[in-house]
Structure formats: C-alpha cells, structure tokens
C-alpha cells in the first residue's frame, strides 16, 4: 500500500480523519478545506496537509478536498476496503462486550469465534457466536482464515496463548491483556492497556489541579 515508511504518529491520526470525513459524508458535505477540517478537529491546517502529503496529498484544489474521495482513499489506505476475520480469546466481561459490539462489523471486522478456558461458558451464545473451549482454538484458526486475534484474557495466560497463535499463523494481535507481548518481527500488536490509560488520566487530573492553583495566584 504505502511505499515509504509512515510514522506511527501519522498512522494513529488517520482513523480520526476517517471518522470526521465519514460524519461529513453522512451530512451530505461534498467539499472541505484543510482550514474547515482544522477547526472541526482542533488540529492545525498545516498538520493536516503534512499528514496527507505522506499519501500524495489527495489533490486538494483551491476549493478544498472532495469529501467522499478523501474518505474512500483514507479508508483504502487503512485497509478498510478488505474484510478482516477475528477471533476473541477470553470470554470474560470485556471479551463478551467486544463480541456484542456490532459497529466493528460495519467496518469489515468480522468476529468468527470466541474461546475461553471456563467450561461454564462453553456453548453460551453471543449474537451469532458460540463460546468454545480453548482446546478448539488451534484447529479453528488453521481451518478458518483468521487475520487478527483479540486477547481479552489475564496476562498470566496471554503470552503463552499469543505464542501458540503465532505458530498457527496469526499475524496481528489486538491486545487487551495487561502485559506486553514479545512477538517475532513482522507480527503486529496494537495494545489497549486500559489501566495505563486510566492512570494517565489520574496523572493529568492531579497535575492540573496544581496548574490551576498556580494560575489563581
């Protein structure tokens, strides 16, 4: 897709552009300038142009970007023109919440299976998915064309399960386990460390209270 290496900071901003462009498209907006996008998204117009220049600039004319074209182009860059097949490992509260969330499917992320160690959960139905025993995971992955494994299991189990899955051919992990995965090069990991995120909020909350006190003086 992209010929040159794009920084992860730019890539992390692309889904947000995609989200705003989708909203503009849904509202029937046909053209948008980097200025207007800038005001809407609270980033500078020059940041937007720089980010877009990584991908050839998307041909902004004097009168702005074509919203639908830009939306589709960024979608293609993000791989959203393809369908991805996912399994969820760990059918606790979070795993079940993700399995039940339908918006991922709208973007082409299809949950194909969900697995857990807890035999009390076997057979439980979540929408069109049935919770299966962990023992079934390997053969399931080998039989189906699974791209992404979602890890919503305790950290004590995550590392070993990830190893098994790499050996089965899984190339991407969406990791909610509270640990880092050491995977071979070429395997993609996107971490969602909820505790880390909440702790960062705690820092900013506590630091800001001091800032405010300083400002009052």
């Amino acid at each position: 897709m992209a010929e040159k290496e794009i920084s992860q900071a730019v890539i992390a901003r692309l889904p947000r552009y995609f989200r705003y462009l989708g909203e503009l498209k849904d509202e029937g907006v046909e053209r948008v300038s980097s200025q207007d996008l800038s005001i809407l998204m609270h980033v500078t117009a020059s940041q937007i142009r720089q980010d877009f220049n990584n991908f050839g600039g998307f041909g902004q004319q004097g009168y702005g970007y074509n919203v639908e074209y830009l939306y589709n182009e960024i979608g293609n860059i993000l791989g959203l023109d393809r369908t991805h097949h996912l399994i969820i490992i760990g059918a606790g509260n979070l795993g079940q919440a993700l399995a039940n969330y339908m918006n991922f499917e709208r973007r082409g992320f299809i949950f194909e299976g969900i697995f857990d160690r807890n035999s009390e959960l076997y057979g439980k139905q979540l929408r069109n998915l049935t919770i299966q025993p962990m023992e079934e995971m390997e053969s399931f992955v080998k039989k189906h064309d699974i791209d992404i494994a979602v890890l919503t299991l305790p950290k004590t189990a995550a590392v070993e399960v990830a190893e098994t899955l790499v050996n089965c051919g899984i190339r991407a992990f969406w990791n909610f386990a509270h640990c880092d995965l050491n995977v071979p090069e070429g395997i993609q990991v996107e971490n969602v460390h909820l505790s880390d995120s909440l702790i960062k909020l705690s820092y900013n909350l506590n630091t800001n209270s001091h800032d405010l006190e300083d400002k009052d003086n």
Copy 2:
C-alpha cells in the same frame, strides 16, 4: 506535583514503568539498573534515564535504582497515592464490563455509581453497584465527591452528557464514546477509541504484508 510541564509522551510511558516495577517488586527484586529495565521493556536505557530525569532522576546509584522506592515514587507522581471516585455513564456491555473489573480498585479507582437511560436495566446489580436512571446522575455527582466520569454511551449522547457533567463539577473524563469531547480548558479527557485502535492495527497488518513481500525480493 510536577513543577514543570512534562510532555504527554513521557506521561504515557509512566504507567508502563510503574507496571514493570510492580512486577519486579512482586518478584522480590530489590535493585534494577536502567540497562536491565531497558532489556526488559524493549526501550533504550537512555530513554529511561531521560524520562526519569523529568522527575529528578530518582537517584540512580552505580548499582541501579531501588525498585520499591522507584515504584512508590512513580506511583505518587501518577496520583496513585490518592483514591479516585468514578461514575460510569452507559451500562451497556462495555460499561458493565468495566464495572465488573476489579483491578481498577486495587489502584484506588473506585466505581461509585453507574447510570443508564434504559429502564430495563434499572436496579440491576453489578458487584456492589446498582444501575440507576440517568435522571439521578446530576444529584448523585453533587452529593458524592466524584473525580472521574467514564463515558461508555453512544456518541450521540456523549457530548451533551459531558456538558452536564462539567456543569456538575466533573473535571476528568475517561471517554469510550466514539467522538471527541470539546470540554473547557482545565478539564482532562483521556480517550479510548476502540475502533480507531482496531483500524490502526488493520493499517499495520496490511502495510506489513507489503513490507514482507519487498524483503523477499
């Protein structure tokens, strides 16, 4: 707490240091060098020293950092020496999953209430919490000393609810709604945009397949 402005990139790395130091502490390790931490955490030792220098360096001696001291100091910087009181707005799958997750409490993040618009959920018990009607939210926040609101509700409702909560005195949002909040200065927002995270993984997965092909040539 911190006297000078620390970059958000450094702050985002602190919870990870805290996590690794906690594990070392639990394993009974008393001292660790930046070298050892570097190998463990897959970051450079110079990055670690630079990050720590933002907070005075934590007095590494020739023989490394005192693990328990460093763990406690970073915990204090992160505000984890205090208790935080949270409410959850939106008792769908994700809101319930968070309410049921006990590890946040271990870090001093106490869920005090959970609210939803759906009358079928009223009265449902999640551990020690009872799902309450949204109409109770304002008076609840005013009566209790709530620091952080967790938004696990649809984006169509999130912006308005956040506004109400700001007016009730909430100063920090942990936002899972698929939108950005425009809050007044001094109000902290930490976003967890799950779709954006999954889409970023999709980009890296699809781009990497090309990288691999290039390497094969």
